[in-house]
């Protein structure tokens, strides 16, 4: 329902003919559709919105809640309210064959996100120049403050130049790819048991040598067969296993 589009006024001002929260809901919705609020970024705070439009915070909250319920926004405690794009029909997560079986309660902590030159190895993997920039992200999956797995993620900057603004501590890389319509058409994964370096064992909570580490490598490819994301996950085998579904082909 576009409440004020017939009035001839700008769609981004408030009038007094329809409930105010419904009008604000339409304003925010339009800004998302027009691309002013981009997926993966936070919209202005309740205070800012209430000041901009001269309406009280309860009304602002009602408008936001309506959009959260519609699945257009996601509210993250202490971080703000973030824009979610249109969800792809088949999510990237569904393309992953190895489904980690994790404890019920877990959280993901981002350790480092930096831009670095590709270097020899990633130049080969991504088929780009040695000095082209790539994102390097390290994140740790924790349960009750105990590390379960640790991921190293690499993505050429050219694939998602916007990644800096999108908060990857709120959204997964999968979400971000979906927001920016970056289509992953295939995923290659392999799972092996490794000894693991001292550093890996240390990051995973000083894993004793008698406990094995699993390494899950995933390459995400676009429709031209180019690798656009490479991820290595190191998993403590005593706290995590994997599930796979098999279909007759």
């Amino acid at each position: 329902m576009r409440s004020n589009s017939a009035s001839g006024e700008s769609e981004n001002t408030i009038n007094y003919k329809t409930p105010i929260y419904l009008q604000l809901r339409e304003i925010i919705r339009n800004k998302i559709e027009d691309g002013e609020y981009t997926p993966g970024t936070a919209i202005p705070s309740e205070n800012e919105l209430s000041e901009t439009y001269g309406i009280n915070r309860i009304t602002v909250r009602n408008a936001i809640n309506a959009l959260v319920n519609e699945g257009l926004l996601r509210s993250v405690q202490g971080k703000g309210v973030f824009v979610i794009g249109n969800k792809a029909e088949e999510t990237i997560a569904e393309l992953n064959s190895f489904i980690p079986v994790l404890p019920k309660q877990f959280s993901i902590k981002e350790q480092v996100k930096e831009i670095r030159p590709a270097g020899d190895l990633f130049a080969t993997l991504f088929n780009i120049g040695v000095s082209e920039p790539i994102y390097s992200i390290v994140q740790i999956v924790l349960s009750n403050a105990e590390p379960i797995s640790y991921d190293e993620i690499y993505i050429p900057v050219a694939v998602v130049p916007q990644l800096q603004v999108a908060s990857s501590s709120v959204f997964s890389i999968d979400d971000i790819f979906e927001f920016y319509d970056i289509e992953v058409s295939s995923v290659r994964q392999n799972l092996e048991i490794i000894t693991g370096t001292q550093k890996t064992r240390h990051i995973l909570g000083d894993v004793p040598p008698e406990i094995a580490i699993m390494k899950l490598e995933s390459s995400y490819l676009d429709n031209r067969g180019q690798v656009i994301e490479y991820k290595s996950s190191f998993v403590r085998s005593d706290t995590c296993s994997f599930k796979v579904f098999l279909d007759a082909k």
């Binding site: 058409s185 000894t195 370096t197 390494k215 994997f242 098999l246």
Partner: protein, 247 residues
């Protein structure tokens, strides 16, 4: 460009050396068991110091890509065989497709009364008859997998009449019993080989091995087999490739 020099500060010499070495193995397609150039030569080639290079070599040894032989040098590790998760395929036919030599030896064939755990998986009433078949698989002459399978004796009567060392279990299911496996679910974790298992697999006791358990289902949604597989971790990796469905 200032931006560029900033970026270059971000990879440490050690990371750099690890990635250079990994890339060297990747682009040169060195066959298994071939010797890599000496540490001294690699230091010269990449202009890194000995300690840094040693770190990189150790790193790739720990991740299973290289191995060191005392007094002889550093070598490329044998590539692990893929256990493909593309779909439910009999292991034998999958190995054949890959052109891998596979032999099977029956370690044990028993009739059991269904236990609680197996009853949950196969939906067989407690105490009913089930077959337990334990097989050892040799791949390229090396013992690699211990495969334990449970099937309902009512669904597969007289299963002992068939030659499970020659024919694949799935082909017997399909051709003799007219039961076709259409889907399955598998759980992959790590366990440690017992003394007996280690002896069969010719590895050290307590070595970590892949432990995969699963149930496969027929088109009528009836569970056909419950299996437990032990894979040698030094010879196998699990592999999958998935494509987005075409609309």
């Amino acid at each position: 460009m200032e931006n560029k020099s900033l970026m270059e500060n971000k990879t440490s010499p050690r990371t750099n050396a690890v990635e250079k070495l990994e890339n060297y193995l990747l682009v040169n397609h060195l066959p298994a068991n071939s010797k890599i150039p000496s540490e001294r030569d690699l230091c010269k080639l990449w202009n890194v110091n000995r300690t840094t290079l040693r770190f990189a070599v150790d790193m790739l040894i720990d991740s299973g890509k290289l191995y060191r032989k005392k007094g002889a040098g550093t070598f490329v590790a044998e590539a692990k065989l893929p256990r493909n998760l593309l779909g439910v395929n009999s292991f034998a036919s999958e190995m054949r497709q890959q052109g891998t030599a596979l032999t099977t030896k029956i370690l044990s064939f028993r009739t059991l009364e269904c236990t609680k755990q197996i009853s949950k998986k196969l939906h067989v009433t407690l105490g009913n008859k089930i077959y337990e078949i334990i097989r050892l698989r040799h791949v390229q002459g090396q013992p690699c997998i211990i495969e334990t399978t449970y099937i309902n004796a009512e669904t597969f009567p007289n299963f002992e009449n068939y030659n499970l060392e020659k024919d694949s279990m799935y082909s017997i299911f399909t051709n003799i019993y007219k039961k076709k496996i259409i889907r399955g679910e598998e759980n992959i974790s790590v366990t440690y080989a017992t003394k007996e298992e280690a002896a069969f697999l010719e590895i050290e006791p307590d070595s970590p091995v892949f432990f995969a358990t699963g149930v496969t289902m027929s088109s009528e949604n009836e569970p056909l087999e419950y299996y437990k597989l032990l894979f040698r971790a030094d010879r196998f990796k699990f592999v999958s490739v998935t494509h987005r469905r075409e609309d």
